[in-house]
Amino acid sequence: MDGLHAELGRTTFPVAEHALPILQSAAVGRRYHRLIVDAPGIAGRVQPGQFFHLLCREAGGGEAGPYLRRPMSIWRAEGGRLGFLFNVTGRGTAALARMRAGGTLSAVGPLGRGFALGAGWRRILVLARGVGLATLAPLAAAAALRNIAVEAVLSARAPGDLMAAEFVGGSGAVVHAVFDEDGSSAPERVEALLRARFSQLRPDAVFTCGSNRLMLLLQRLAGEFGIPGEVALEQQMGCALGMCFCCVRPIRHADGVHDERVCTEGPVFDLQAALSW
């Protein structure tokens, strides 16, 4: 991720509606899909954890699709290209999955506050459930560029749903996979695994996305070990620009719990500040 530290304010109008040529549209495993779009001049200035707000119909008004856009994390941002990796769950993602190379994706962004990598860090640990790894993949890439070692615990239903390669990319991250199928993703077993990795790896920070249960577990263990962390949250969005207040989540502060906008104050929040959802 070349532009990791690009400031949001570097261009005067950092956010725009982009009409991006679709280079690749392909199913990934049984339930996932990836879209790769051409985005020179954009891919280089996005931060890991940021997202785009995607129109789920052809920009020209062609394909029928839902009215609102859908928020989607940046999964790849390399070589002037952006990639999105998503679970096909409803009308919007189904319409996105129907888009074809040669078509155009309308994407508003880059949006939101991404992950922060501290100066001098050497090791991070990442915990993702399901497609939550899409959001964390650029963090692994950025860490690799800064010679920060990445270990990932990826949880999935079954090996066929894991997408370890989709996470690792060129980052060289070490992956520990756990599955529902063989029981290795059970809370107590993941806790044991994490405790072991914490003790051995001594990560400078931890990051998570994709599961409330895993977030609560990580919150507890990171608190216990005194390790800072961040979590990427999801919430349904309207404007994705901070204007409509429909994407709020309660966030813990020194002076109490406040509603904050996932699109603007997030989607990345301090791990200990997030509340269960």
């Binding site: 949001l8 109008f13 620009l241 429909c246």
Partner: protein, 308 residues
């Protein structure tokens, strides 16, 4: 492209609709290119907002029940207003206010006048605590009472934002004109509902919500048309506007200016396209001023023109 909304002069007739806009849109384009900026409704006191989900889409638009969360008027004036003034540049700054009683509305106007804004938009579609929670704008009496109370406390241009949730919008329009409103904003969202059939409950956390977007447009346009035939004060049209053609429809139905709401969620820069498209339409059709579109499709257009 200059137009007047009563005493207020605007560089162009396009502005955002309250609650669908914020200074954050300045990340996308220079906000001073709009005819005016309109704030999210500000309430006298801090409010939390409604349960989630607060927004859901339907085939023709969206339903919302956000609940006007905010830090309250004093915090707005101290914290946000200076930024809004800076962002507005040459554009007019319109502050939308919402309050539970006529007296609270009036008080808020006095406070805002002192703080310095260009116009006040009174969101009288909110529940009136003195009327069993019915919206002020649901009937002429309470609507007029609220506007009269505000009028007594401010000399700023005072816009009354009407609600579609009334049996006779023309009567409400006449009542608030009589009570001293300088302009009407027509209209706020119409009450709607969507049900999640798997869960057997409303899709919005709050139950019903306000319907906006393209599917609401024919109703909003009709409301403008009815109001334009009922009052002499200018009308700001609002409801489902997404394109310059939509804006022309509203102006021809009697609007002097227009507000764009939900469409900004889909195309964040669409207000600029509306401005450019309005200009292009006027050029193509030989109108030297965009204001000439106002009321062109009204039944009495000829009579009116003759009378002037």
């Amino acid at each position: 492209m200059r137009v007047g909304v009563g005493r207020l002069r605007l560089a162009n007739p396009v502005m955002p609709a309250s609650g669908t806009f914020g200074l954050e849109l300045g990340q996308v384009f220079p906000l001073a290119r709009l005819g005016a900026l309109v704030t999210k409704s500000v309430t006298p006191e801090a409010r939390g907002g409604n349960p989630l989900p607060r927004l859901c889409e339907t085939s023709g638009g969206v339903l919302n029940s956000i609940g006007i969360p905010g830090k309250g008027l004093p915090a707005f004036i101290a914290g946000a207003l200076p930024e809004w003034r800076r962002a507005a540049g040459g554009a007019a700054l319109v502050v939308s206010v919402s309050a539970p009683t006529a007296a609270a509305f009036a008080e808020a106007c006095a406070t805002l006048e002192a703080a310095g804004v260009d116009a006040i938009e009174a969101n009288i579609s909110c529940p009136n605590l003195e009327q069993d929670g019915h919206a002020f704008a649901a009937s002429p009496g309470p609507a007029a009472a609220a506007i009269a109370a505000m009028r007594a406390r401010t000399r700023l241009p005072l816009w009354a934002k009407l609600s579609p949730n009334t049996g006779d919008i023309a009567a409400v329009a006449r009542a608030v004109e009589e009570a001293g409103a300088d302009a009407l904003v027509v209209a706020n969202t119409i009450l709607g509902l969507a049900i999640d059939i798997e869960a057997a409950r409303p899709r919005l956390g709050a139950g019903m919500g306000g319907y906006s977007g393209p599917g609401f447009k024919p109703v909003a346009l009709r409301l403008v048309w009815q109001c334009a035939q009922a009052v002499r004060i200018p009308i700001v049209g609002c409801g489902g506007i997404a394109t310059a053609e939509d804006a022309v429809e509203f102006m021809m139905a009697g609007a002097a200016a227009v507000q764009v709401g939900t469409a900004t969620f889909i195309h964040p820069a669409c207000m600029l396209d509306v401005i450019a498209g309005l200009e292009a339409f006027c050029v193509r059709r030989g109108f030297s001023r965009v204001g000439q579109l106002t009321g062109l499709a009204l039944p009495q257009a000829e009579l009116r023109a003759a009378a002037e």
